[in-house]
């Protein structure tokens, strides 16, 4: 540590359910170098000041989706957000919005996981194939239909960004809908009607009022807002045309 060591103030919203009534802020002065991420700032605090500081992390390369938090009010992955970009101002980190806080920066994701499971995120084969038949053929344009929506890392930043999630915690929400859309658009899949039941339900796509902030904060350019909004069109078609279609659409 040289004399020119820069120090940044990190204000952390702390909350320990076993001892605190309410979340409260605590400020730490952290020496940093230009290559240090906000996550590394938090690690510095845990290693040197207070081992009880709690947050999720693993890959530190923006791919595992663990380390989301509100950084100066904006949902971000802390491993790819750098302290230098905030210096010399104070930086404030808090648990992701719209989720119950479990402790410090750790939020309860069980609701999100239920939504993810509910949309049936697996291939429901249109035409089953045996291994001997080899792979399905997918042309570049069939591939282009869904590939963007496969990039979601389940970081839930879009949930922290979406005010409608905040207003209605049952809203299936951007990432889970994007995942449903990913399978619906896959030429190997024939499960759209099954998934539509959920997308078109009262917890489904129409909770979205096209705020669009979900897509703006998405670190992987999934554009979940687009998936949600496009499915309003699909769900509406399904709603109006179900009487015409021979199968009667979904219930």
């Amino acid at each position: 540590m040289s004399d020119t060591q820069k120090i940044i103030e990190i204000e952390v919203l702390r909350y320990n359910p076993e001892s605190d009534q309410e979340p409260h802020s605590q400020v730490y002065k952290v020496p940093f170098t230009d290559d240090m991420s906000v996550l590394q700032g938090a690690q510095y605090i845990k290693d040197n000041f207070d081992g009880s500081l709690t947050y999720r992390w693993s890959c530190r390369m923006a791919i595992c989706g663990s380390c989301g938090m509100m950084i100066n009010g904006v949902p971000k992955l802390s491993c790819e957000t750098f302290l230098r970009d905030y210096y010399p101002n104070r930086i404030r980190i808090e648990a992701m919005a719209h989720f119950p806080i479990e402790k410090d920066l750790v939020v309860d994701l069980s609701g999100f996981m239920e939504k993810l499971e509910a949309i049936q995120p697996y291939i429901i084969p249109k035409e089953p194939r045996t291994l001997e038949q080899g792979e399905y053929i997918q042309t570049p344009s069939q591939f282009a239909e869904f590939i963007q929506y496969t990039s979601c890392i389940n970081c839930t930043l879009c949930y922290a960004a979406c005010p409608q999630v905040g207003l209605n915690p049952d809203f299936i929400g951007p990432a889970a809908i994007a995942l449903a859309h990913r399978y619906n658009m896959d030429s190997r899949d024939g499960g759209q009607a099954q998934r539509m039941e959920l997308l078109a339900s009262e917890d489904g796509v129409y909770n979205c009022s096209a705020v669009g902030y979900c897509s703006e904060v998405c670190p992987k350019h999934v554009d979940p807002g687009n998936a949600v909004n496009v499915n309003k069109i699909h769900a509406a078609k399904d709603y109006f045309l179900r009487f015409l279609s021979p199968k009667g659409g979904s219930k």
């Binding site: 009010g73 282009a144 239909e145 963007q148 669009g212 687009n226």
Partner: protein
Amino acid sequence: MDGWWKKNPHFVEYMIHEGTAVFVAAYALTLLCGLVRLGQGEAAWNAWLEALKSPFSLVAHVVFLAAIAYHAFTWFKLFPLTMPPMVVNGKKVAPEVMVNTGLAAAVAAALALLGFVWRIAA
């Protein structure tokens, strides 16, 4: 969730463009008044036309114009979010292209409307 929409410029903009709806409604009600007056006969209709000339009405319409123009602008700006991706030759069309296509369509529609009104009037 109180005051969430103040927390972030993105939300403030969202509220503003949502807010244009009030003016859309106000304008539609103005037209509905006109329709009612039309139904009541020539005198009533002319009185409505006269009322439109009042400074209050003129100012109100300038406001409507601004709000609804902003509505139109944001409506198309949201196209990349709200519309299915446009694919040309197996490639996704850039968002700006979608927005600009929408805006161009709006300008064309407005001019067509003006031309049409002008033709029946003349």
